[in-house]
């Protein structure tokens, strides 16, 4: 114990030195650090949103809405096909997770099965001999669709947020169907939420000029048509409605670009189709000159202009009752593309930059005062050995900050609490060792053998007691979310670094002191 092999000595001093070196940037402002030469470590601890200010949004990809819509579409398709094949049925309806119907003639079960299989090859079909049928989507196919929708949503969210100019957003998948969005520096996420709240599914559909809106509103809708409201109510006028053909002329996913511009001093959105879209749009407008068509966004009609001449160039202009902001937003949404499913905000945590910096100050002050109290306490109760423990504590704190910076871990306010707490608990290892040394001294041992026995005997106890805290830390990290995770990181890290500093760094100091002064008694 009283002899350190050279490599160990180098290792301990090296770790301490690196700790201080890598912790150092945290003591300066980012501007100062940026001006340092490149061989000096630059990395600072990255601060959580609660400290730097920003917005944290947990979104759910609402697949049930999509699935419901899909099944409703399938019901339409089946109705058409059954009628064509002259298969009698009753009660053909869909819910959120299945379709059910009854066949009039049970001997046509085979035909019905064939039609279903053609309409949707993946759906599970159960038809009882008396003709009662239940169609349930295959769970593995559903899971695949959900996974695809979530990945696609993340991509679209990223594009939309990038377009708003938010710096360093974090967008990641959480669990099965969730997306976590973190927007540092954003203290009013209303605009972002509004942008993410729209699926932005755009379609061009013909208006059915033969149908009357009044009839449709009373529930008499011609087959193949749908009733859609207008996007905005203008100047307190009642909501306008349109009867449009369900069949989509061209859909928004064929757009290649959209930009806000002005036409006759009104904000409008200009758009361009890709070649497929341009061809379809050209054909459709050629066939329907003189008729109105509806530009539909998320099941609301933005405008319904009359086709004056075939539009063959593959580009056009959407004019509606836009403000500059809403034209900007629509162009942005069209460029970024449609979300495969609506998003719901499950959790929002937004912290303004002032509160963030207040929290940093509060946390830092609490830590500094806490550490100062511990430092004084150790000197009062252990004298010189207390100073040794305090020096070890300094390196402990440095190594901890260095690891946080180096690992790129995020420091939160509870994380700062974790640091303060581990500083209080870190000296526990020193206390255990010193108390043991005292006991050995009381037991009449010599200086050297007391020190030796103190370190050796305390080691097992320190290990056991630290592992239990690590267990709690690991569980918090595993099961906790947000603030708890931040706390778990610093607590666990602090336990590990305090093992190193309290045992090795303290021992190194005591050994050096022992060699230099050759004391007759231990001042403890």
């Amino acid at each position: 114990m009283l002899y350190f092999q050279t490599w160990k000595l180098v290792l301990i001093l090296g770790v301490c030195l690196l700790g201080v070196l890598f912790a150092l940037p945290n003591a300066f402002s980012p501007q100062t650090v940026a001006s340092w030469p490149s061989f000096v470590p630059h990395k600072q601890v990255s601060l959580g949103l609660d400290l730097r200010g920003g917005s944290h949004l947990l979104l759910a990809v609402d697949m049930s809405a999509v699935e419901k819509e899909r099944l409703a579409g399938l019901v339409d398709e089946l109705r058409q096909q059954f009628n064509l094949a002259k298969i009698g049925y009753t009660d053909l309806t869909s819910t959120t997770d299945h379709i059910s119907f009854n066949l009039r003639e049970p001997d046509r079960i085979k035909d019905a099965q064939a039609i279903v299989a053609k309409a949707d090859p993946d759906i599970g079909v159960q038809i009882s001999p008396n003709g009662a049928a239940v169609l349930t989507p295959d769970p593995t196919v559903l899971a695949q669709r959900r996974a695809a929708a979530v990945s696609q949503s993340i991509e679209i969210i990223r594009r939309r947020i990038d377009e708003t100019g938010t710096k360093e957003p974090t967008i990641q998948r959480e669990g099965e169907d969730r997306v976590l969005v973190q927007l540092p520096g954003v203290d009013n996420p209303e605009h972002v939420k509004a942008l993410l709240g729209k699926t932005a599914k755009m379609t061009f559909q013909l208006v059915d000029t033969n149908a009357s809106v009044e009839d449709a509103r009373r529930g008499r809708l011609p087959p193949g048509d749908e009733l859609l409201p207008s996007d905005t109510t203008r100047n307190g006028q009642p909501m306008q409605y349109y009867v449009v053909k369900r069949r989509v002329m061209v859909s928004g996913d064929t757009l290649t670009d959209a930009q806000p511009t002005f036409q006759d001093n009104q904000p409008v959105v200009s758009f361009k189709f890709d070649s497929t879209g341009a061809r379809r749009f050209g054909d459709a407008t050629k066939e329907n000159v003189g008729k109105p068509f509806a530009i539909v966004l998320d099941n609301k009609v933005i405008s319904a202009p009359v086709i004056r001449e075939p539009i063959l160039g593959g580009s056009g202009v959407i004019s509606g009752s836009f403000t500059t902001q809403s034209a900007n937003d629509l162009a942005l949404l069209l460029r970024a593309g449609a979300l495969p499913a609506p998003l719901t905000v499950l959790e929002e945590r937004t912290v303004g930059p002032d509160l963030g910096s207040d929290s940093i100050h509060a946390g830092a002050l609490a830590s500094v005062v806490g550490v100062a109290l511990v430092v004084v306490f150790m000197i009062v109760f252990y004298g010189l050995f207390g100073i040794f423990a305090d020096i070890a504590l300094f390196f402990n704190l440095s190594i901890m900050l260095a690891s946080l910076s180096f690992l790129g871990a995020t420091l939160t306010l509870p994380g700062i609490a974790g640091i303060a707490l581990t500083m209080g608990m870190a000296v526990d290892a020193n206390v255990l060792i010193y108390e043991r040394i005292r006991e050995e001294v009381r037991g009449g041992r010599t200086v050297i053998s007391s020190l030796q026995a103190g370190f050796e005997r305390a080691f097992g106890t320190i290990l056991d007691s630290h592992v239990t805290t690590l267990v709690a830390g690991a569980l918090m990290f595993w099961l906790g979310s947000g603030p708890v995770k931040g706390f778990a990181v610093t607590l666990s890290l602090g336990v590990l670094t305090s093992l190193f500093s309290a045992i090795l760094v303290t021992r190194l100091q005591i050994v050096t002191w022992l060699r230099r002064t050759k004391p007759k008694v231990i001042p403890i």
Binding site: G363, V380, D428, L432, T469
Partner: protein, 314 residues
């Protein structure tokens, strides 16, 4: 440089003589906490109950809480609570969970923001929908139970099963009474409180393990010692360490309580209580429990010091 204060003598406190009072007191505390939990419940923060917290600061002069309250009361958002804190400009607005789903929570915030207008700076807005709240409760409870089990298994693995049982019971006692404290004073119970409870579990076992370690060592060294003397001696020998560690940890937590601000208040209160109760339970529950579930042999201990060479019994 010598210490200014030293504890020269090993104290001689008859812990075992007091343990029945301790056990009785703890039984009362534990049962009381359980009763409180089921009758009064916990004052769940929005992390668990769902709902909204808005920390607002008025930009023009001190906040007129009464006026803001009357503005918000008419919005049909249910129970809206306003509370001043920090500077005279700061107001904490709490909305209870809105009926309906996750979407309704977001709408409530919009409504409030529109009503209060532009003279208010929103320093913090937290909205937790019912889905996430329910999940956080489940994850929190799982983490606590798993932590207790994992700790018990570790102690069992390192010592004997009797020590594992003792450590788990005393830690359980600490966790339950901390929850009881939060129920009694209706202090807000949120995610950071939960973190505190898990830390208390870790800390309390840390304390217990140090004492158990000494009990085991003394058992190995003095095989003929009667159990009461054995435990008393172990507790007294480790008492100065217990007090010193409690003090340093408490100093750190106290500083968090005083300077750490509003967000860390619940955490600090829980920790402070936990440090106290954890230490008490190590002395008066964990150690005396061994008297009732005596470890029979003290084998496979750690490699021991030089004066007891190869005296391992297993």
């Amino acid at each position: 440089m010598r210490p200014l204060i030293t504890i020269r003598r090993i104290p001689n406190i008859d812990f075992m003589g007091l343990h029945k009072i301790g056990l009785a007191l703890s039984l009362v505390l534990t049962l009381g906490s359980i009763v409180l939990f089921f009758t009064h419940g916990l004052n769940y923060g929005i992390d668990f109950s769902g709902g909204t917290i808005i920390e607002a600061r008025t930009t023009s002069g001190p906040a007129d809480i009464a006026q803001m309250r009357s503005q918000l009361d008419g919005l049909g958002l249910g129970d809206v609570s306003l509370q001043g804190f920090g500077t005279p400009n700061d107001v904490l607005i709490r909305l209870q969970r809105q009926p309906g789903g996750d979407k309704q929570q977001e709408q409530a915030v919009e409504t409030v923001k529109q009503k209060l207008g532009p003279s208010v700076d929103y320093r913090r807005v937290e909205v937790v929908g019912p889905t996430v709240g329910a999940e956080l409760i489940r994850a929190g409870a799982t983490a606590t139970v798993l932590a207790l089990l994992a700790i018990a298994v570790y102690v069992w693995f390192r010592f004997e099963w009797q020590f594992g049982v003792g450590a788990m019971l005393s830690t359980l006692h600490d966790v339950i009474t901390t929850i009881g404290l939060f129920s009694l004073f209706q202090i807000e119970f949120n995610l950071t409180t939960l973190a505190a409870i898990l830390t208390i579990a870790g800390y309390s076992v840390n304390d217990t393990v140090v004492i158990y370690d000494r009990v085991r060592e003394t058992m190995q060294r003095h095989k003929s010692l009667d159990f009461t003397t054995l435990i008393n001696r172990s507790l007294n020998e480790t008492l100065s360490r217990t007090i010193l560690t409690v003090t340093t940890t408490a100093l750190a937590v106290l500083s968090l309580l005083v300077f750490g601000g509003e967000v860390l208040r619940g955490f600090s209160i829980a920790m402070l209580w936990g440090i106290g109760i954890g230490t008490y339970s190590s002395l008066f529950i964990a150690a005396p429990l061994l008297h009732y579930i005596r470890p029979t042999h003290v084998g496979h201990g750690r490699k021991d010091a030089s004066d007891t060479p190869a005296k391992r019994t297993s």
